[in-house]
């Protein structure tokens, strides 16, 4: 697989503060990556360094296997950092024309991209008259102008209302569907969970995990089971080796799994033991739970 971005031992100090500490990872083509981390964990600084706006204290990075200079590589990338930055007195179209000039591409795709983000009707209004959601959508249109190899989004839904968040998320999913590589930094975990296949977890500048979402914690989730005879059910549970700790709740027992199981087999086995399950549900651990567990461990 082609690497799009390789980062090795990237470090940034601000005085005595280590904002990013010895971070290394590789972004492969075609995946959707999420960079997770609490506020101030170094997400934006890491992105700032690979986007040529923050000077690294040490370490290095290379785009597309290092075949082009960094600023030429950035012409092939679409990126939005923190909040949308455009010239206030220029209209949407004029702003995008400028981006085309910088990226050295034809201006023919401007209208098409404005349609994608639902801004075609406001194409001639000055940027200063836009709402935050519209500004953010214009930023996405601008990042898409060159049909980028990789789209980098830093907190794209920050400060938006629910409709705005939904709209941005739909656009991201639509873009991910076209096979574009995406790198999404966010502290909103359900956002990342919905679109990402891989995650990179940062905590106070240090990378603590990098890999597929499912393998983040060696974890098989839990099952919620219930039966009319709860005592019999409990004794059945304790005899099975794949069941871990049990929590009693009004809905039944929530049992942590120690290995992957087939719920149909479990049902059959329980029935053979004379227990008719009135409830059986497999719950995967949410990304949020995994993330909290992971950041606690370290």
């Amino acid at each position: 697989m082609e690497p799009i971005l390789s980062i090795s031992n990237l470090t940034k100090h601000y005085g005595a503060v280590r904002a990013v500490n010895d971070v290394s990872f590789t972004i492969q083509k075609g995946h959707v990556y999420g960079i997770l981390g609490p506020n101030g964990s170094g997400k934006s600084t890491t992105l700032g360094m690979v986007l040529n706006v923050v000077n690294p204290s040490s370490g290095s990075y290379s785009w597309f296997g290092g075949t082009t200079t960094n600023h030429d590589a950035l012409k092939e990338i679409g990126a939005i950092i923190e909040r949308p930055n455009f010239y206030p007195s220029m209209s949407a179209v004029q702003n995008l024309e400028l981006v085309c000039k910088i990226k050295n591409i034809a201006t023919t795709k401007i209208l098409e991209k404005l349609e994608v983000v639902d801004l075609a009707a406001r194409k001639d209004s000055p940027f200063s008259t836009f709402s935050l959601g519209m500004k953010q959508r214009l930023a996405i249109a601008s990042a898409l102008l060159n049909d980028p190899e990789i789209l980098i989004l830093d907190e794209p839904t920050n400060g938006l209302d629910p409709q705005g968040i939904r709209k941005i998320r739909d656009i991201i999913q639509q873009i991910a569907g076209t096979g574009t590589t995406i790198l999404l930094a966010s502290h909103l975990l359900d956002e990342v969970e919905k679109v990402c296949t891989h995650v990179i977890v940062l905590r106070s500048g240090t990378m603590i995990y990098c890999g597929p979402v499912d393998e983040m914690n060696k974890n098989f989730g839990s099952v919620l089971v219930n039966a009319s005879n709860k005592e019999q059910l409990l004794s059945f549970i304790t005899t099975q080796d794949y069941f871990g700790s049990v929590t009693d709740s009004a809905d039944g027992y929530e049992v942590v799994l120690l290995k992957a199981i087939d719920t149909a087999q479990l049902n059959e086995l329980a029935f053979k033991n004379g227990i008719a399950l009135s409830r059986l549900a497999h719950k995967k651990q949410s990304l949020e739970d995994q993330f909290i567990a992971l950041t606690k461990n370290h």
């Binding site: 000077n55 600023h71 012409k75 990126a79 000039k101 990226k103």
Partner: protein, 279 residues
């Protein structure tokens, strides 16, 4: 170079302040052209200003380059605000992310400064040429094509000032403060000159002449010295008061050189500053 100029002109074209200030600049230049029609009374002389011979070739070149020079502050504000607003709108960051290198960014701003300096020089040349053709008593080719070095002086002093503004915009990041910085620097140069004048008086040395030729703003202002004492009626007045009066009105090569060196330094410093900074 064409791409970088295109980028910077796009920003210039669609910025409100640059549009307004450029129009003000042009309007004032045109208004100045009509001052030749103003009736004045000096000593026992009455008539329009053009009758004083101030629009004669080649004197008109000296006068108009000197007068129009004061207006460069309008263009300077454009450059300062175009540069500093890139910081306040954070578009500088976005430009870099979009694939402009820091070097290209400074170069594109420098090219704009260069082109604006060339355009204002061309403008003042056309204005003084037409003033001369209308009002001058002699319109021989030798007169028309003499003393053209004032335009070199005009161009160089503008280029220096624009480069200084660019540097101030990058250094200070806020338009108003950057303009303040330029003013403070100008006062600072004045204080330095006063000190050196004092030293010269006390110690009997010649620091003042060196200093005024080395300081950027002062050296630029020495490129074109005041033209008024050259007018026969004024000169006559001074001579009656203080005997003989001789003054060197030429554009000196060393001032031109000093200004070029400063322009290069300001651009380099702007680049070095930007390169070192995290945005």
């Amino acid at each position: 170079m064409k791409r970088l100029l295109d980028i910077e002109f796009h920003k210039f074209k669609y910025s409100k302040s640059s549009k307004v200030l450029t129009i003000i600049y042009l309007v004032i230049v045109v208004l100045l052209m009509f001052t030749g029609l103003i009736e004045v009374t000096i000593n026992n002389f009455t008539g329009s200003l053009s009758d004083l011979g101030i629009f004669d070739f080649p004197y008109v070149y000296h006068l108009s380059t000197y007068m129009v020079s004061f207006l460069k502050i309008f263009i300077a504000i454009v450059i300062v605000s175009l540069t500093a607003s890139e910081y306040s709108n954070r578009t500088l960051k976005q430009n870099l992310i979009d694939g402009l290198s820091k070097k290209e960014l400074i170069l594109s701003k420098f090219y704009l400064a260069l082109v604006l300096a060339l355009l204002t020089t061309l403008l003042v040349f056309l204005v003084s040429l037409s003033l001369g053709l209308v009002f001058s008593d002699y319109t021989e080719a030798t007169a028309i094509f003499s003393n053209l070095d004032y335009f070199l002086g005009f161009f160089v002093s503008h280029l220096l000032f624009f480069c200084f503004c660019l540097f101030a915009g990058i250094l200070v990041k806020k338009s108003a403060f950057a303009l303040g910085f330029i003013f403070v620097w100008w006062v600072f140069e004045g204080i330095l000159r006063l000190i050196s004048y004092g030293i010269d008086l006390k110690m009997d040395v010649q620091t003042y002449t060196y200093l005024e030729n080395i300081l950027p703003l002062e050296s630029a202002s020495l490129l074109i010295v005041e033209p008024f004492s050259k007018v026969s009626i004024v000169k006559g007045g001074i001579e009656t008061l203080s005997g003989t009066f001789e003054k060197d009105y030429g554009v000196h090569w060393y001032n031109v050189l000093v200004c070029f060196v400063w322009s290069a330094l300001f651009i380099y410093w702007a680049y070095a500053l930007l390169k070192r900074r995290d945005l």
